[in-house]
């Protein structure tokens, strides 16, 4: 019995450093927008999403120190105690790096479900640390932030990989 014909797979070019840095810059500006009220609780954490995305797609470009520095930057921008986001981002980076081969074996929609725990790990760490520092727990909408962030995973390949595909790239039949 003949196997069904597979879709021709496009060999992707590695992302340039400029593209990775540019995506983090956009995520940082997105974070600094004047969010308030319920939108502040629901604001997707694109920084951690991109951290996980690039850790899975371009592991040679990412490192623990990048996760840590992004976390410190997010803390300074958030006016929160330095180190809170750094802790969460470091944990997310570790999880993404550890489960990278497994995550890559799924389609984009399934990958979104797989990265949700990585995103939630960062959010939970941030929340628990804030609770230890005697800060009040935000409203229930806060817990929707991680699923909301994971939804953005579905559009990331379209936004970040479209131009990585070169028309002359060899195609795997």
């Amino acid at each position: 019995m003949a196997l069904p014909p597979r879709e021709p797979q496009v060999l992707k070019r590695p992302a340039t450093l400029r593209r990775v840095a540019g995506s983090f810059l956009v995520a940082f500006l997105f974070m600094l927008l004047p969010w308030s009220g319920p939108w502040l609780l629901l604001r997707p954490d694109l920084m951690v999403l991109l951290l996980i995305y690039w850790t899975i797609r371009e592991p040679m470009l990412m490192g623990g120190w990048i996760a840590f520095c992004l976390g410190i930057l997010a803390d300074a921008a958030d006016s929160s105690t330095l180190g809170i986001h750094a802790l969460g981002y470091s944990l997310s980076y570790f999880l993404a790096n550890h489960f990278r081969p497994r995550t890559l074996s799924f389609y984009t929609a399934n990958q979104a479900l797989h990265v949700l725990p990585f995103i939630f790990a960062s959010q939970l760490t941030t929340t628990l640390t804030s609770l230890i520092l005697k800060l009040p727990l935000p409203g229930w909408l806060w817990w929707l932030q991680s699923p909301f962030t994971a939804l953005f995973w579905l559009v990331l390949p379209a936004l970040l990989e479209r131009q990585s595909t070169h028309p002359d790239s060899p195609r795997v039949p």
């Binding site: 927008l33 470009l61 921008a77 006016s79 330095l82 800060l135």
Partner: protein
């Protein structure tokens, strides 16, 4: 072509060891920043780096405001102008009376040998954003160290007290609102002069008076002003109104919920007051001078001999 291949045979620490290292570093940062406030200089330097990005991120909302103002009809602007003019006239009378009263008060203070009230420095600042985390109640104002803003300065709006400056960067400052969970404020009930300490409730945008005895004369609708006993907030600033009073026989204290009068959501500009000079007791030679220079200075210094060994 950009080719990245892993370096063979060069194995650094294991991923788990790296995770432990970065987590330990992050926890150390949290402890040093939260407990010892030793990262303030680093945070200030970071805020200078973040400032242009923050300005860029604020551009869309500024543009939206400009467009809204441009399409607003001239009639609406005229009506607002007339309303403000009337308000100014109404307040002119009160301002003149206040000036006379202040002058009399200073004369009387001089007669009885009390400290003269220092003229307080004022700076008008624009609210440029809210804190980007739901865990704290803070706003960012457009004036910073370059405008002479001091940490600890009270911040008011046209309606009443908004909060206190808790971090001063080079170009902007953070104001912790009175509704923040960690913000405490000495208040007084206008009707009967009862003093209490108000604590913020966090996200709900309200504050409470947790340590008022159950038998105290407190009613819903009572107006609250600053009592001025901490020496930081000038007395008589409008703070809020008591919304509800619950008296539970099982507790020694009443549950009193209040709403602030100076809600920041309706304002774009605030007034930053000066930090008053230290009381005479704070200038005694046997005081520990190091404690007051870290973070926000307490109103009264604690003598070294009274401190715990």
């Amino acid at each position: 072509m950009d080719i990245r291949t892993p370096e063979l045979f060069s194995r650094g620490p294991s991923p788990l060891a790296r995770l432990v290292f970065y987590c330990a570093l992050a926890i150390a940062c949290i402890v040093v920043d939260y407990r010892f406030h030793q990262l303030d200089a680093f945070r200030k330097a970071l805020s200078v780096v973040i400032y242009p990005f923050q300005e860029a991120a604020n551009l869309p909302s500024l543009l939206a405001d400009t467009v809204r103002q441009a399409i607003e009809s001239p009639q609406a602007l005229q009506a607002e102008n007339d309303q403000l003019r009337q308000k100014l006239l109404q307040q002119a009378d009160a301002a003149q009376q206040l000036r006379t009263a202040k002058s009399e008060l200073n004369t009387l203070r001089a007669l009885v040998g009390l400290r003269q009230e220092q003229p307080e420095a004022h700076a008008i600042a624009e609210i440029v954003g809210m804190a980007h985390t739901p865990f704290v109640q803070k706003v960012v104002i457009s004036s910073g160290q370059s405008s002479g803003i001091q940490p600890g300065a009270p911040v008011i709006s046209a309606e009443g007290l908004v909060g206190q400056v808790t971090a001063v960067n080079l170009f902007n400052s953070e104001v912790t609102l009175i509704t923040d969970k960690n913000q405490a404020l000495p208040v007084m009930i206008v009707r009967n002069g009862l003093r209490a300490i108000a604590f913020g409730n966090g996200e709900s945008g309200t504050f409470s008076l947790p340590y008022v005895p159950i038998a105290s004369d407190v009613q819903a609708g009572d107006l609250l002003v600053t009592s001025g006993i901490d020496g930081l907030y000038p007395p008589g600033l409008s703070v809020g109104q008591i919304k509800s009073v619950e008296r539970d026989a099982s507790s020694a204290f009443a549950k009193i919920q209040c709403v602030p009068t100076g809600a920041v959501q309706n304002h774009r500009y605030v007034l930053v007051l000066g930090v008053p000079p230290r009381p005479p007791g704070g200038e005694l030679p046997n005081l520990d001078e190091q404690t007051s220079d870290k973070g926000i200075s307490p109103a009264v210094k604690v003598p070294r001999k009274l401190k715990k060994p």
